[in-house]
Subunit: 786 residues, 2 copies
């Protein structure tokens, strides 16, 4: 890995780029410090300085330089480039650049490209009522806030997917590069098809330091660094230096070289070559806080971790620092960069590409702008016939697989399925009739369904799957991520960030709505037959419902047709996080298509076929989730046989947010409707898929809340039989039936023997299962008998 020695920039071009860079740097420093006097028309005074100095200078000049040079590349080759900012706390840089090129003002017309607008631009940064300090959704051209580090590269690969003419320049911070998600994402190059996807150009911004420490990759030596990126399958190029002119030339030469390599790779692939290319990547080594104060109060700042945030503190009260700030700002020679009205001068502005090519105006970054709705097959045609509720089993995911197969046919470049190696085990394999699993590694005899252009992306990294999908959605396309319910917690923090992004874009007029993030959790807590306690956790739902109600939806379809209806619905939505939990194992079909569609539309409802309450129940048996629904109906069956006079109402909940108050969630049932379903005075035995207290948290304001008795997962279980799992968590039919008896005093003492009978059945089961290792046939083969 050596630096290229050519000097592609003629003097004029060099000076133009340097001026642009100085302008961006000036605007960045201005954002961090200035409340007024943006053009330094008068000497800086304390009152020109913001009272609270917030932001991150360290990474900013490097980002500014990269942005300036990419502008040159775009103009030179009329290229479509998306900029992904890994070190997203370098917000000032992207704000500065998008204002300079005009994208900022296009999104926020009030922030004009003149002195008034510049003053607004400066003030709003990290300021109450203004914008945050990261490359958040507020920043035009951004799909990666970088608030939490580690996702830039997987986002970049997701964005490049199915965008054959796009180059995604992805700046990876050297702190970020230490994270697991980033370390795994380098391998994304084995899942990018140079023929049908665009290119990703990773740029490792090695400025040497994190908050208070050196960065690991900055201190392993060039030999190891080169080997590492070769090992990851890249051809690394080095750009290093602290002398602007030399770095300008080296960066320009390297970017030219990289773009040429990208063109070659794509040309070869598009004319039929099948080898996996070594894509170029850049190691960009420049000083942290470059061009900022070299030394402050006798300590070196530029080139050290001290430049991470605000190099000069206390500027309002420390006259030396104030003076130093002024000379720092003046060092960029603003008078050469902005005219008397504060407009960037023509020689600076001309570096910016024409409007349609500006990175801050990239339609890919405002994904809803280019997004097409999916063409979806007529879902009713995939529905399974259900003549008698519960008479036959269905395989929800298998049926959905056929629907998804046809959706792939209808949407050849707009839809992808992601997962950590579970598509097959989740019984979605019908999709392989029309597409394959993306694979650009070596092929061997016996490989199954692997294809360079497959629509199914599987890597055993939930982080990478999620990052790819987010990048794909944020640029306007559609997808589904299937994962183990327990292990989707791996991406808890990523889904947080995405939920926050969605909330933010709901408040930004110029941002269009993007396709929803759809989770399909089929290997759920109740059926971990090959695994055990470590694979049992239904808490992702709890995690997601903490996010803003407007972006969160949770569905627990109890059977095949409700599942199909739910998935079809989710694929048509935008700006949501849809969590769908449903097992992949065969399970009873309860509702025919018509009833299923109606039930899903309502989200919660009384199941008449299983109720005998004639509008006046002794008890409500509620259920949410496939296994709890089956156990509830089995409990109803037991109770009917033993206590036929008991009036039972069965309520099934598909859309979990129906339980919440209408004032708290847009899907919440009005109180009157909730009361009509659940009553206000009858005991409700609620069999729930997940942690039982979530139901209390959702319903604590409801009138009948005190009557609710919830059963769910209580962290008991291991590798065992399906029925033993529910027994261990008191969610089994016998226990539910006993709960009913305990809560309906009118049944009187006569019910005591029935209760004992149920308890004995549980004991009998326990003895059987621990001896023979299988559930009793009467449990295993139970069917609802209407």
């Amino acid at each position: 890995m050596e630096q290229l020695g050519t000097r592609p920039l003629a003097d004029a071009e060099l000076h133009g780029i340097d001026a642009y860079w100085r302008a961006a740097n000036y605007l960045s420093v201005g954002q961090i410090y200035l409340l007024a006097n943006p053009l330094l028309r008068e000497p800086l005074q304390p009152e020109h300085i913001k009272p609270r100095l917030l932001g991150h200078w360290g990474t900013t000049p490097g980002l500014n330089l990269l942005y300036a040079h990419l502008n040159r590349v775009i103009r030179q080759g009329d290229r479509d480039v998306l900029f992904v900012t890994g070190p997203g706390h370098g917000g000032p840089a992207l704000v500065a650049n998008t204002w300079l090129e005009g994208s900022w003002t296009a999104a926020y017309p009030n922030t004009t490209r003149d002195e008034v607008g510049m003053a607004r631009l400066f003030k709003q940064f990290s300021f109450p009522g203004g914008i945050p300090s990261h490359v958040a959704a507020d920043v035009p051209g951004s799909i990666n806030e970088g608030g939490e580090l580690g996702y830039s590269l997987s986002h970049a690969y997701g964005a490049a997917a199915d965008n054959p003419d796009l180059v995604v320049a992805c700046v990876v911070g050297d702190g970020e590069a230490e994270t697991g998600p980033l370390a795994a994402a380098w391998h994304s190059n084995k899942f990018l098809d140079p023929a049908r996807d665009g290119a990703v150009l990773p740029i490792l911004h090695l400025n040497g330091y994190k908050i208070a420490n050196p960065a690991v990759l900055a201190r392993i030596g060039d030999d190891e660094l080169t080997a590492l990126f070769r090992g990851y399958g890249y051809e690394p190029y080095l750009v290093a230096g602290s002398e602007p002119e030399a770095v300008h030339q080296a960066l320009a030469a390297t970017l030219d070289q990289c773009m040429q390599r990208i063109d070659e790779i794509q040309r070869e692939a598009r004319s039929g070559s099948a080898s996996r290319p070594a894509w170029p990547m850049i190691v960009f080594r420049t000083p942290k806080g470059w061009t900022g104060p070299h030394t402050v109060d006798g300590e070196q700042v530029e080139g050290t971790w001290r430049a991470h945030q605000v190099p000069l503190s206390g500027v309002r009260t420390n006259p030396d620092h104030l003076r130093q700030l002024e000379s720092w700002l003046r060092s960029y020679r603003p008078e050469e960069l902005f005219d008397a009205d504060g407009r960037p001068v023509a020689s600076v502005v001309e570096l910016a590409p024409e409007p349609r090519r500006r990175m801050g105006s990239s339609p890919h970054a405002n994904g809803g702008e280019v997004s097409r709705d999916l063409e979806l097959p007529a879902v009713a045609e995939y529905a399974v016939p259900v003549k008698v509720p519960g008479a036959e089993d269905g395989e929800p995911t298998k049926v959905f697989g056929a629907y998804l197969r046809d959706a792939f046919t209808l949407n050849p470049d707009n839809l992808r399925l992601f997962g950590p190696d579970e598509t097959e085990s989740n019984r979605l394999s019908a999709v392989y009739e029309v597409t394959g699993k993306r694979w650009l590694g070596e092929l061997r005899d016996g490989d199954n369904h692997l294809a360079r252009d497959g629509r199914v992306l599987e890597i055993l990294s939930e982080h990478t799957c999620q990052g790819w999908l987010e990048g794909y959605l944020l640029t306007g396309r559609h997808g589904v991520l299937s994962s183990y319910e327990a292990f989707v917690h791996i991406v808890d923090s990523m889904v947080n960030q995405h939920a926050k992004w969605l909330k933010t874009i709901n408040r930004l007029e110029w941002r269009r709505r993007i396709p929803s993030l759809n989770y399909l959790l089929t290997s759920h807590v109740w059926r971990q037959d090959h695994n055990g306690f470590s694979h049992q956790d239904p808490g992702f739902i709890d995690h997601v419902v903490n996010k803003k109600a407007e972006v969160v939806r949770v569905y627990l379809p109890p059977d095949t047709n409700t599942f199909l209806s739910t998935m079809d619905h989710c694929l048509r939505t935008r700006n949501y996080i849809n969590v769908v939990v449903a097992g992949k194992q065969p399970q009873p079909n309860w509702l025919d298509w018509e009833d299923a569609a109606l039930h899903c539309a309502r989200g919660a409802g009384i199941w008449d076929f299983a109720s005998n309450d004639d509008g006046d129940p002794d008890v409500v048996m509620a259920c949410a989730g496939d296994v709890p629904t089956m156990e509830t109906l089995a409990a109803v069956d037991l109770l009917r046989q033993q206590l036929p006079e008991l009036r039972i109402r069965v309520v099934n909940v598909v859309d979990l947010m129906r339980l919440q108050d209408a004032t708290e969630h847009p899907h919440g049932l009005p109180d009157a409707e909730f009361d009509a379903l659940f009553t206000t005075d009858k005991p409700v035995i609620f069999a729930y898929h997940g942690y039982p207290w979530l139901i209390h948290r959702l319903t604590y304001r409801r009138n009948g809340h005190a009557n609710l008795h919830v059963r769910g997962y209580i962290e008991e279980g291991t590798t065992t039989t399906p029925f033993d799992m529910v027994v261990r968590n008191n969610l089994d039919r016998y226990h539910l039936a006993m709960d009913v008896i305990d809560r309906v005093p009118a049944l009187g003492t006569r019910a005591a023997s029935t209760r004992q009978y149920f308890a004995d059945q549980r004991t009998r089961h326990h003895a059987h299962v621990t001896t023979y290792g299988d559930d009793l046939p009467e449990v295993r083969d139970w069917r609802w008998t209407p």
Copy 2:
């Protein structure tokens, strides 16, 4: 990377190892399939077969081979070796080996090393009432279940830390190797001191396939693979093959070579060399499901993904499969391996090391066995004087830093602090007076506090920090992990697994209790001044409290002395996950040491200095968390001034689990005590640090629950001032005071003007802060006036 050609094993030794391997393989297959007839005394019949065939064969033979060869290495060099099983679903392998060597029977005397015991061993596997299918806590010698993949390597490095004579052999699965946490953990070699720590020998088990796909690292070619591991700073050795004899020789030669390199590296470092070594690692490439059925029903199984779980299915009903299973089992020639009573024959057993060296009996793996309590400084000596509540500010983490500094001095090899580059910003830097930040990368001028043997470990990977700490705790040592509150969600899934591990060891008599996992979350939701919305999430508490109550503790100390008392307590506990949330910013000191210690011991209590209710309040103002406590007291202050006749009781909660029912959590307050604090009939305005509904979820069974009105974080915020943050979430003093007026009807209409006054103050603040960018002085500089 080429395979060594030497043949170190003489025939007898080769045959001995091979016999041991065959025995382990036989016992592994037996576990997956057999319910009876363990020694094949009669031809296999369907009733000998388990009704449900569960488990993972694919990785098992490779694990068995590695275990056998490590036994040789241990015996040869009298070495102390810990075995970490990344592909932990290979449970059968570790169960088989520990039974063969005697460790299993030492832990479970009932499972004798004879036919009866073998039958028990077989039956219990993946069987109701038995053991799970992973290398869970039930397996002696395990510190890494591997139920969720990706943590083996960071666990291994944590285990090797401060164990200079230990070699941790860490098998990394090739599926696992695709995960982010594993990809990042290779860099752990920059944080291992060869002089004072032990060694980690990573063994990448490249058997080629995951569940249904090839593994990425198996298909990138040897050039890239070699470069990748050189880039990660290792010297890779290759062992590859499918012919047992050749692989035995190659593996033996390679392990000898690796151990020699480890010895050399340690010798050099311990005699003063300061260079970072390239530690050896092994790429171990053998067929998936090796020695199992090559072909089943015409499809290749051995060497493909089809060998992942159970190669032969339906064995009870398919006579061909039954016959194939029998010949598979007999292919290991069990009659040569076990005597007539089912005891392993002497020539097999003799490969096992002497008891103290057996990997299944490693005291490191049963960490509580070797664990020493910390020597902790007298905490009261660090307490800050508090003459008047709230009169002065304290810096909780800074004060704790001094305590921690002295704890490091007292415990030079038993305590570590982990974090993603935040020790300094968390104001714990007093620790640098006695120790440094661990760093074995290059050193440069101006580097601060970096040291080869530092007790502070910082890498910008929460996963790696958590994995190291878990490995350190599981082997009996102590530690603290400090992290951003929002980003600790990154390890949600890891903490799940650790909580499950702790629950399990509580039920295992032979497992000793290990030091608690202590989280210190100081960069919390309310003070993200340099950041914004992306950094605001208090939901880790919600996540943790879903785990089994017996292992979970959550503390929200409101000031310096309570924080100190809490941390001192946590460092003395075992088998808990302690989550401590407290800001690093200066904040009022409320309690002197005596009151603080008492308050922490109680966990929740009335603050008399702030109450004027004389035992009969009009309203209870409850608070949990530092910022909510300050806002509550400020609200009390406002109310006192405006409505002096109002009787207010202030209740502060430090130990969040006090709120829960005593039947649900061991720390739960009995109802009578809860009622005594909160009353059963008075309005309670509860200012809570996190998502408000958590308080409802914890208290829904309480008598006075309907009177609870909770304020907390509702996902509103961005980069703004500290007071504006609480305003945006309705947690500010004015809003709390307004809440009181709204809920105390006795105040009558006369309070309406006061309410309006508070509302006006909020508006006034909003106008000020969006204009001037700072909080009003009266808010910023507010002090409690007694």
